[in-house]
């Protein structure tokens, strides 16, 4: 028995990039095609869709909700959900705005202040996530209920913050970070970095594998001796961290914050995850899918603007697209079950 083990230990060359790509692309082709199709359609019909400003708009606006969609992807693959993201983002955005207002007194561009506040805000977001994670894993309450509760709690706290501490002049460095950068804004580069890290963790590490396994069969992972509770807390910390980061970026981008900051991002982020092929039941999904899902939503929004369609209709379209995506996923699931049942029948009739 040991010999099998010994033999396989030897010689295992790396084909990581290819593996990563094929793993991410598996089953995502239809979504990618939808994205390409949309770009072509809007490119032809919408005036100025391919101009630089439109590209900047799409990448910057995608960054904000893609960041929280990344964390949400992990949580949803594990079979959970985090709906506290919206108010976590608002609370973090306000924290960032208030701290920068208090710390910046008009000297220089305040780059150090921006960096320090960026770190603090991310920690604040992570702590909110940690509260969610601890309650979910220790008290065994449904993630939907726990994060709904904390959504309310932090929305209230955000409102209180916004009334009590008005946001004033922010350091110029924060504007640079939110709006300038080589080719695209710095925040876009940061988002690309986050996408790469998340994709790597999900596809190539034990933690990534356990995220899938927990979503597929939590009990199996517990019995396999994996500290599932600890990993569950990590997942919500990561999700909160991304909300904190997005809050900070939002304040830098818009140079202000309110309790309503990012209120529509929850729907958009979950929509990106779901359109990207992560089912609510968990166990499946990919970062590439979420990125494509996010781009689809952004292209849709920008296309609507260029075509002069009422902005309110954008959310209607995103909502409808999400429901459709879930429907298609269910149809696919049913077809799979039927295929297996037919396969099993074939086997017994042999």
């Amino acid at each position: 028995m040991t010999s099998v083990r010994e033999r396989v230990r030897r010689g295992s060359s790396s084909s990581m990039t290819r593996d990563l790509l094929s793993a991410s692309l598996r089953g995502r082709l239809p979504v990618v095609l939808v994205l390409v199709l949309m770009i072509i359609v809007f490119g032809i019909t919408g005036q100025g869709f391919f101009t630089n400003i439109s590209f900047q708009n799409i990448t910057s606006s995608t960054s904000l909700f893609l960041l929280i969609a990344l964390g949400e992807t992990f949580v949803m693959i594990s079979g959970g959900i985090d709906i506290s993201l919206a108010s976590n983002l608002a609370f973090s955005a306000l924290t960032a705005g208030i701290l920068m207002t208090k710390m910046y007194h008009g000297h220089g561009n305040g780059a150090l202040i921006v960096i320090a506040v960026g770190v603090i805000t991310t920690i604040v977001g992570s702590l909110i996530g940690m509260i969610n994670g601890l309650i979910i894993s220790l008290l065994k309450i449904s993630p939907l209920i726990v994060t709904l509760g904390s959504w309310g709690a932090f929305f209230g706290l955000a409102e209180w913050l916004s009334v009590k501490y008005p946001i004033g002049t922010l350091p110029p460095a924060s504007f640079t970070f939110g709006n300038d950068g080589p080719v695209v804004a710095w925040i876009v580069w940061l988002t690309i970095l986050c996408v790469l890290i998340f994709a790597f963790v999900l596809a190539r590490t034990r933690f990534g594998r356990y995220i899938f396994a927990i979503g597929a069969n939590r009990e199996a992972v517990v019995r396999a001796g994996v500290p599932v509770r600890r990993f569950t807390v990590y997942l919500y910390v990561i999700s909160g961290l991304m909300a904190g980061l997005a809050g900070f970026i939002s304040t830098c981008d818009f140079q202000t914050a309110s309790s309503e900051t990012g209120s529509s991002y929850l729907l958009i982020a979950i929509a990106a995850v779901v359109i990207g092929g992560t089912p609510l039941s968990g166990g499946e999904g990919s970062i590439l899918g979420t990125v494509v899902g996010a781009l689809i939503i952004s292209v849709l929004e920008n296309g609507f603007v260029l075509l002069g369609i009422n902005t309110f209709m954008q959310l209607v379209a995103v909502g409808a697209a999400t429901v459709l995506a879930v429907y298609f996923d269910q149809v696919q699931g049913r077809m799979r079950i039927r295929a297996i049942a037919m396969g099993a029948q074939g086997e017994t009739s042999e």
């Binding site: 099998v4 593996d19 990534g208 899938f212 396994a213 019995r223 396999a224 994996v226 799979r336």
Partner: protein, 245 residues
């Protein structure tokens, strides 16, 4: 040799095990009994999922504490659960190695999954146990009951289990799959593994087992060699209409 001594376990005041003593030796020991006899509770205790209220577990003469599935595994005890405990959306190789993934180390602290090695090992192990699974990259949900069972067995085989616990292993299998499973279990016994199987399938017990332990209402009511008993006598012992042999 794995022995349990005077194991007791109650759930909310209801006694599931009322002091059980069993010696598991190399070969196959079948534990039979009616529903509620305490067989599954005993298996859960041996696999580290449930902790007994009282009693002792001894492996090769030294007492051990089985306080987690990881601990049980590290002592060489592998379990195949009734519900198979596989992660459906993961592929065959990932399931064989779940919780014990092979990794590559980069710069000392970054560990990345070595999927290539895991796939090769899974394929070789499955081949060694003689069970055909077309591709170890297939998600487990696309497999038949027998193939899923094989994945769980490959896990035990690869990690050189000393003790294998089987809880109703063939309940969900067709005749052909059961035959394949039986062959693999025999293989384990030939490798001098201690196999402990809980089942309702008496013909299978008569065919496979070396020893039989009969449980009833949380107690062991009889222990015997398979050659000393008939299927009818066994049935009588299980339901309590016959006296202990």
């Amino acid at each position: 040799m794995l022995s349990v001594k005077n194991i007791k376990k109650s759930y909310a005041g209801v006694a599931a095990l009322r002091g059980v003593d069993i010696d598991l030796d190399v070969g196959l020991t079948a534990i039979v009994g009616d529903n509620g006899a305490g067989k599954s509770t005993l298996m859960k205790i041996l696999s580290g999922v449930v902790r007994p209220d009282e009693g002792e577990i001894v492996i090769d003469g030294s007492p051990v504490t089985l306080d987690s599935p990881t601990r049980a595994r590290s002592l060489g005890i592998e379990s195949l659960y009734q519900d198979l405990a596989l992660a459906d959306t993961l592929d065959v190789a990932s399931n064989v190695f779940l919780g014990r993934e092979l990794v590559k180390r980069w710069a000392g602290f970054i560990h990345t999954l070595d999927d290539k090695a895991m796939r090769r090992a899974a394929a070789e192990t499955l081949k060694a146990v003689g069970i055909g699974i077309p591709d170890v990259k297939l998600p487990v949900r696309q497999l038949s009951g027998g193939q899923r069972q094989a994945v769980a067995l490959a896990r035990a085989m690869y990690f050189s289990a000393q003790v294998i616990l089987l809880d109703e292993p063939t309940a969900a299998l067709g005749p052909k799959e059961t035959a394949a499973f039986t062959r693999v279990v025999r293989e384990f016994v030939e490798r001098r593994t201690t196999v402990c199987m809980v089942t309702h399938n008496l013909p299978q017990v008569m065919e496979l087992a070396d020893r039989i332990v009969v449980m009833r209402a949380g107690r062991v009511v009889a222990t015997m060699n398979v050659s000393d008993v008939t299927e009818e006598q066994l049935l009588g012992l299980m339901v309590g209409s016959a006296a202990a042999v």
